[in-house]
Symmetry: C2
Subunit: 311 residues, 2 copies
């Protein structure tokens, strides 16, 4: 259960990275856009079709070397329900290629409402006795500001359906400290407190490789806190944003891993999607460039942490 | 700008309440479900059609006495992109009836990703030069755990398009204190700190009726903190959940208002949607019952706070 499948994917591919699929229309090559706009007009439907074509080509270029993808919900919602359909199609396509899918939605709410999010993104929706997967991702990012009431409703689905969540602990952005670094009177910081809650929430959801179904988001841009959290949260799997475009490098992220090279997956979104720019290629070569960048990132990180093995 | 339109709606109707549209399929009368399943099958499309029919009937029953609706995104996402289309249609229908629409999505992210959420829910999406409203709500609930980077990207759209946001400050659920009540070393609590940030974020987004475009969510279930926050955050408009089904009454929420009866809008979801149960009616009478409950709630609250007037 929990992140076992993800961990096994990582070990098999010797690659602890995830490709972020945050497709702005600006990133999509003209040839794809022209084709989709000709078919559907300059509409949300046309834009959504272009995003899905772009994602499909990226997935085709990556699925045998990268264990997971992380679509960012915001970029799909921006194109309305049509964009949300493209998110749905992207998840299904990535899963059909064997990839582990993390929907980055940072969802949060309480009780039955959080259950609805859990059902939507990870579980099965009941429609008058028919059980249907609405989105069907493997994991979802969530925000723990509301406490246990906002996390526990996810536990049942994590347990029964082999799914996981990543709770925001220390985010990668410059202003993350405004709240997260504040010291509590207990002398721990807000992010430490949140991290400790993650360990607690995961206690009854342990997988067989040492990590629970309740992971944490900890940014590559704060390498010191990353190492500190790795030591303090031994059963919490990390999703690490901030590598590449946001400034984090392999040296910064190596603190996220345990002695077996497990315990974390490092995300790169723009770095992979827009790799053709850095490689001096044309936008039509985006998929070839993405694969090359994914290989480079993998080799750089594995070069720092060594062979990844099950404990 | 800001919440001026909402405030003017409230004063005109002498009603500081919002009807939450959190439509579980269980709440929808059999007659609507049967019709929709006959047309679309027991599918996500069929379920979504039933939700929209239900919402339309509720809006028809409420629009001339209730100033705003608050659809909860989770209950639409549960029915996939088809459900999200029902959200979209619900927003458009409520707006066509003159209602102020608050999408309860508790969205949060940073930089360009938060801009994408702002564009999606409040702004206009650019598709190759065409400007299209993806969802077109008037306000969005957001989570401020990521600090200023997660809020500022919304400011531009609030300003240019007369929109608002509600930041989670003190939520209505039992476990909200696990993080929000923790004392910081500055001797203020996490929720007080978040509230203070809301006042700050709103400074450049002041409306003409004394409130900024940056509102706060403060639960009816914590009446003491509600009064405390009202006093400390004079320019922050409150969205108050927790009335009715969650246990808050009119006496609990009166602390949320200023001396003119402004400064807050009180939400009821289940209390209105499922009013027929309490009134001993059949489910087919849900719309009549909803209107009666909305009137009762309005009268109870206005009975406590008196005539609502612009300052």
């Amino acid at each position: 259960m929990a992140f076992d499948r993800l961990i096994e994917n990582i070990v098999k591919m010797q690659n602890p990275t995830v490709a972020g699929l945050d497709p702005k229309l600006d990133y999509v090559p003209e040839s794809i856009k022209t084709k989709c706009f000709e078919k559907y007009g300059k509409t949300l439907e046309g834009a959504a079709a272009a995003l899905f074509e772009f994602n499909k080509a990226l997935i085709d270029a990556l699925y045998d070397i990268v264990p997971a993808v992380k679509p960012q919900a915001a970029y799909y919602e921006m194109y309305g329900w049509q964009g949300v359909k493209a998110l749905c199609d992207t998840i299904a396509y990535a899963k059909s290629k064997g990839m582990f899918v993390i929907t980055d939605g940072k969802r949060n709410d309480i009780g039955t409402t959080m259950e609805a999010y859990a059902t939507a993104h990870l579980g099965h929706t009941d429609v008058a006795g028919e059980s249907i997967d609405a989105f069907g991702a493997d994991a979802l990012t969530v925000n723990g500001y509301l406490g246990t009431d906002g996390i526990k409703p996810l536990a049942k689905i994590c347990d029964s359906d082999d799914k996981g969540i990543f709770v925001l602990v220390k985010t990668s952005n410059p202003s993350s400290g405004e709240l997260q670094d504040m010291k509590l009177e207990t002398n721990e910081s807000v992010y430490e407190h949140m991290g400790k809650m993650c360990e607690g929430w995961g206690e009854d959801l342990m997988g067989k490789h040492g990590y629970s179904a309740v992971g944490a988001v900890v940014g590559a841009t704060y390498p010191e806190q990353l190492g500190e959290m790795r030591a303090k949260l031994p059963h919490t799997f990390f999703l690490v944003p901030g590598y590449g475009a946001q400034g984090g490098g392999a040296d910064d992220v190596k603190n996220a891993f345990d002695e077996n090279g497990l315990g974390a997956i490092i995300n790169s979104s723009r770095g992979i999607m827009c790799a053709w720019k850095k490689q001096g290629l044309t936008e039509e070569d985006f998929a070839v460039a993405a694969r090359k960048e994914a290989e480079r990132m993998r080799d750089e990180i594995v070069g720092c942490i060594g062979k990844i093995k099950l404990g």
